[in-house]
């Protein structure tokens, strides 16, 4: 293919001098993009053998992919059979910065992936990486499937469901190895478009090993990621999670965004993404501490609204003092009230079952006028005759209700009041009066 030549030349130039690719990068955006994609694919293809610069990728391949029916051995085997002694390309020497910058371009690769032959070329170039520029004609569908599995291995660390679905799709297709090349190309094409974004995710997650962008408190970071890579990684991660349809992410905008770090924390998908603001420290500990501090401060704000008289108070110490005092005072009030309740709580010898059932029945009546009747029919249950006129109660009004209540009280509390009766009365009156106050 005639389009292979620029890629081939690009690849060779990249192989020869990785740093030169950086220099050329500003001129040929597309070529750089594709070159770095190829480099990434190649390094992933190499990931079956443990490469010193990519410890994470092998771990990711080994570790947590439940959907991966292929063993690592299978991966390595399918890689290694035609590649007896694949020379480790200098692609693996691409620094994380470069890879991440490659990651920045991944959104721009979406249009590329729609190119029908793109995946095929990518596949071939991955084997370029493996075979150190062996001719393309020797490639066949097996290699494309290898690329697909490499794409899939990129998706391993991705945790999106889309990933897994694409994963499963890919697997189903891979299992049928007899499918024609075109079908696989098409599949790998769409899968690669999915996987590229996720590859960028995985790439960034590899560079920030514990996914520090999660912003959790309890996750101590590995300290080997340098600050710049983390900056760019966080940037690109927030780009991905925003799911920008920035198909043409150019260098300029990327570089601008490197300076413009003023975006807030994203909505959590599977973990909390936190953004470092401008001028703030960006290592893992500071970020986690900042998240923790924000949690604490927002809770303190809630408490400030709850505790009376805390509006003017600033500072955690004084706020805590106020909170402690308030909780203590509330507890003392409860103690005091329970003492009062205990004094009006005489011996309870009377069987409460009947009253209980009646109370339940009374309580079930929700409407207010009905609540008059319980107080009227109460004399039926009480052993003492109460001089409550049943027929003379006025129609229900709040004032009359309390008047009737007062009458009841005077009659009943004059004698030794069994708590049971007042309790049941309290219940009904409580519900009634509370409804009155509503």
């Amino acid at each position: 293919m005639d389009q292979n030549d620029p890629f081939q030349s690009a690849l060779s130039s990249m192989v020869s001098s990785p740093t030169a690719s950086n220099a050329n990068g500003n001129n040929n955006g597309e070529n750089i993009v594709l070159r770095e994609l190829i480099g990434r694919l190649g390094s992933i293809c190499n990931s079956g053998e443990i490469s010193p610069h990519q410890p994470y990728s092998s771990n990711i391949n080994n570790g947590n992919n439940n959907n991966n029916y292929y063993n690592n051995s299978a991966n390595t085997s399918c890689y290694s059979t035609p590649l007896n002694s694949p020379p480790k390309l200098n692609l693996s020497t691409l620094t994380e910065n470069q890879q991440i910058r490659a990651g920045n371009h991944f959104p721009s690769l979406a249009p590329f992936s729609s190119d029908p032959g793109f995946a095929e070329r990518a596949a071939r170039f991955s084997c370029f990486a493996d075979k150190s520029l062996v001719g393309l004609n020797e490639l066949d569908s097996g290699k494309i499937s290898r690329v697909s599995s490499s794409n899939q291995s990129l998706k391993i660390s991705g945790s999106n469901q889309q990933n897994k679905e694409a994963d499963k799709k890919l697997f189903s297709r891979l299992s049928r190895s007899s499918t024609p090349e075109n079908a696989e190309v098409g599949d790998s094409r769409e899968n690669s478009s999915v996987s590229q974004n996720d590859a960028s995710n995985s790439r960034k997650r590899k560079s920030i090993p514990k996914g520090k962008g999660k912003g959790k408190e309890a996750s101590p970071a590995a300290k080997d990621a340098n600050v710049t890579s983390e900056n760019s990684a966080k940037r690109s991660k927030s780009e991905d999670e925003k799911d920008d349809a920035k198909a043409k992410a150019s260098f300029d905008t990327n570089q601008k965004q490197s300076k413009d770090n003023s975006k807030p924390a994203e909505a959590p998908k599977d973990y909390i993404h936190v953004r470092a603001r401008r001028g703030q420290a960006t290592d893992a500990h500071s970020l986690a501490e900042r998240v923790r501090r924000e949690k604490i401060s927002e809770r303190m704000k809630v408490l400030q609204d709850l505790v009376p008289g805390c509006n003017k108070v600033t500072g955690k110490a004084v706020m805590l003092d106020e909170i402690i005092n308030y909780v203590q005072s509330l507890q003392r009030q409860v103690e005091f009230l329970s003492m009062k309740l205990a004094t009006v709580n005489p011996r309870m010898d009377i069987n409460m079952e009947a009253l209980m059932s009646k109370d339940v029945m009374f309580e079930s009546r929700g409407s207010l006028p009905h609540n008059i009747y319980p107080s009227d029919s109460y004399p039926n249950f009480q052993s003492q005759p109460n001089a409550i006129p049943t027929g003379t109660d006025p129609p229900f009004t709040p004032n009359n209700f309390s008047a009737a209540f007062g009458r009841n009280q005077n009659v009943q509390l004059s004698t030794i009041d069994s708590f049971n009766e007042t309790a049941s009365q309290v219940k009904i009156l409580a519900t009634a009066q509370m409804k009155v106050e509503l």
Binding site: S159, K210, G211, K214, K216, P268, D270, Y271, I272, R292, K295, R299, M300, V302, L303, L306, V307, K316, A317, D321, I323, I324, V327, S329, L330, Q333, V334, E335, F336, L337, S338, M339, K340, L341, A342, V344, N345, R347, M348, M352, M356, E363, S402, A403, F405, G406, Q409, N410, F419, N420, T422, A423, S424, Q425, V426, K427, A430, T431, M434, E437
Partner: protein, 197 residues
């Protein structure tokens, strides 16, 4: 290694057997709505529910022996009913419910411990650790809220929020009941007003 974004309290309290345990994990699908929110204590229905349950519980109280015991039983009953009303979503409520069950057990254990270490009382207290004042206050607060002894500060503050709201509701309801029992007309207004600080 993906952790959910909702804070999870490691719950080590043995729950009351008579109360159905609700796992914290069941709160996750609801997201923020399931977090202990102070607002749910402020509704009138909660107060009604609490009052009725408290009255029921008070009615079934054992006959106390002394005045102090009476106060304590009433207080315990009030706290227990409050914890039940919390529906087990908060740590302090579970701790209150577990407290009753494990009270006897802890007393027995303490007796055994003291028997095992006869020199415990003879030793002077160790060197007093002068924590920073903020930490001391946090410890004090954690002692006040039941069941929150070894909790991180954000979780502790969350529990405190819910606990304060619940306590306020409890005070209101008990004041109301006390007012009614004492025969104060318009008991709610008077009882609530006179007793509120």
């Amino acid at each position: 290694m993906v952790e959910p974004s909702v804070i999870s309290n490691p719950d080590t309290n043995p729950n009351a057997s008579r109360k159905k345990r609700r796992k914290i994990g069941s709160d996750y699908p609801n997201g923020a709505a399931a977090e202990p929110c102070g607002n749910r204590w402020r509704t009138e229905t909660e107060q009604q529910i609490y009052s009725s349950k408290l009255v029921d519980a008070l009615r079934h109280l054992r006959r106390p022996d002394s005045a102090d015991a009476a106060v304590r039983t009433v207080r315990d009953a009030a706290d227990r009913v409050l914890a039940v009303s919390a529906k087990g979503r908060t740590r302090w409520s579970r701790a209150i419910l577990a407290r009753r069950l494990s009270l006897r057990l802890s007393q027995i254990r303490k007796k055994h411990k003291r028997a095992a270490r006869p020199d415990a009382g003879l030793k002077k207290p160790a060197v007093q650790k002068k924590l920073p004042p903020l930490q001391r206050k946090v410890r004090a607060l954690s002692r006040l809220v039941p069941g929150c002894q070894k909790l991180s500060l954000p979780n502790l503050l969350e529990e405190t929020t819910d606990y304060i709201a619940a306590l306020e509701m409890q005070v209101k309801a008990m004041a109301y009941i006390t007012g009614i029992l004492n025969g104060v007309p318009a008991a709610a207004a008077a009882g609530g007003g006179s007793l509120a600080d």
